[in-house]
Amino acid sequence: MIDTEIIQQQIDGMISRGTELRKTEALFLKVQGIDETIINTQNERQLDEWALELEKENLKKLKSKKTKAVSAAAEKIESKMNEILPMKNAVFQATDGLIMGIREENGNILRYNSLSGAQEHEMNAALSNVLGANILVIEGAEIDHVRTAAMLEDLAGSDKQVLFNTCLPPRSDDWPNSYIVPDGFELIVLGD
């Protein structure tokens, strides 16, 4: 008689080892699947990055096209603003949203909402000018006398009616008690 028990034990041992190997195989397959997914995702991301670069270029071109289209109009608007602004530093850009304000000496753009009190009054007058006012009411209370002088000098040549309110009219350095009234302006002193 042949001892079949030994053979059966060998089979059982091999099946047990096979079960272990299947578990190991499953781990390798899982890692392989992850690797494949990573590669696919990397490829997709690469394609997106290329598409993004192309789209950025496209947007740049479109903006440039718009800048060209609006530049003449923007220049006119800036010019109208500068008729009033003492520092002639108006900024108007409408290519990518609206940028409206002034350019500071260091080149930074100061937008309307961050203007100082004096700058805001100047800008309001400038915008009124742009928007077609023929009576300019300028609240110059917060504008210093140097800027006031510069502003009034410009406004003197304007064809608009100007009502300039100020507590600090320009004065002469030589005669501090005397007001300087630019040509074409009439000074009305109230409260005397």
Binding site: M1, T4, I7, I11, M14, G18, L21, T24, E25, L27, F28, L29, K30, V31, I34, I38, T41, E44, R45, D48, E49, A51, L52, K56, L59, L62, K63, K65, K66, A69, V70, A72, A73, A94, D96, L98, M100, L127, S128, L131, N134, I135, V137, E139, A156, Q161, L163, F164, N165, T166, C167, L168, P169, V181, F185, E186, L187, I188, L190, G191
Partner: protein
């Protein structure tokens, strides 16, 4: 151009003065500099655009700028006198009265007359500043039109921005997914070797299992065949025994030859011939006793047994065992046999 301004009850002031084309008003705070500009705006437009909040409601204007009962502002523009007056009626409501050169006028007549008088325009900057950026751009580009088709350009720019946003989102998501996958991969503890090596080992093992199973099957088959052969060999021995018994039966005297009424299995017949087979024998007094090997067909054996018991009794007596229990039992058994006869 406004050449004259006159007010009554406007911000508590009664003003009356000429205006040059370019006028600087100066004076301390509350001297009435801004009030003049506000009065001009009120006369021309019916509201005050320089206020922190543009208010166009007559009753609010009367409360804010008037004395609560009435207020008047009149301007001379292009040689024409324009007058706007608010007053509160007895029922509390506020009325507006417009006059041109001291004559009553409707709103439209007032507007037409102003236009003819040089169209004095003070801009409501509060309204402009309060607009959204696109609306501001639209308003300005109406006054200063750009070249080309801006609408289509704007639409293309918006679409391009959206595409960029979508692509950026997608790239961000991909990066996140790659990071997560890389992390989950590093979390897996892999044993030594590779997938190919493991799969080769599995295949080798499967082949080994197949071979072992085949070997087992063959072994089991061989064992089964061997067992069958043994069984057949055993059966052959039984048959020979049965033939021998039959021959014995045929040579025996008829008195002791049991007359089988039906064929019996070899083993049964072997059992019947077993001298030590336990059986029950009916005694003459009616009770039954256990007996071995004696039955209705075994008188010859019974005689032998009786003879043997006699010899045993004689031997025990000769050995001076007349009082032994064994002798008593033997005598009793002999009696039974003789009685049964």
């Amino acid at each position: 151009m406004i050449t004259h301004i006159k007010t009554k009850g406007f911000k508590g002031l009664d003003l009356n003065g000429d205006l040059a084309k370019k006028t600087i008003f100066t004076g301390p705070n509350t001297a009435g500099k801004s009030a003049r500009a506000a009065a001009i705006a009120f006369a021309l437009m019916g509201f005050i655009p320089f206020a922190a909040k543009t208010n166009k409601k007559a009753s609010d204007l009367l409360d804010d700028y008037g004395n609560g009962e009435s207020m008047l502002s009149e301007v001379t523009c292009g040689g024409v006198l324009f007058e706007r007056r608010l007053w509160r009626k007895e029922n509390g409501s506020v009325s507006t009265k417009l006059r041109i050169d001291k004559k009553g006028a409707s709103k439209s007549e007032f507007a037409v007359a102003l236009d003819r008088a040089g169209d004095p325009r003070i801009i409501d900057l509060n309204e402009f500043i309060g607009m959204s950026d696109p609306k501001k751009i639209e308003t300005l580009f109406k006054l200063y039109p750009p070249k080309g088709d801006l609408k289509n350009l704007d639409s293309d720019i918006e679409k391009s921005k959206k595409r960029i946003s979508v692509l950026n989102d997608s790239i961000r998501n991909s990066t996140g997914a790659i990071n997560n996958l890389t992390k989950s991969k590093t979390d897996i503890e892999l044993p030594a070797g590779s997938l190919a090596e493991t799969q080769k080992e599995i295949n080798d093992l499967l082949a080994g299992i197949d071979k072992a199973r085949e070997a087992l099957r063959i072994a089991e088959q061989k064992n089964a065949e061997e067992q069958k052969a043994i069984a057949l060999a055993n059966k052959g021995t039984d048959d020979s025994q049965a033939g021998f018994d039959k021959a014995m039966d045929e040579n025996s005297p008829p008195a002791v030859d049991p007359a089988p009424t039906e064929p019996k299995e070899v083993t049964e017949r072997l059992a019947e011939t077993d001298p030590y087979r336990e059986t029950h024998v009916s005694m003459p007094d009616g009770h039954t006793v256990k007996s071995h090997g004696f039955n209705s067909h075994g008188s010859q054996i019974e005689s032998c047994a009786a003879e043997s018991i006699k010899k045993i009794i004689d031997t025990m007596v000769a050995a001076d065992c007349s009082m032994c229990a064994g002798l008593l039992v033997a005598k009793s058994e002999l009696k039974n046999y003789e009685g049964a006869k």
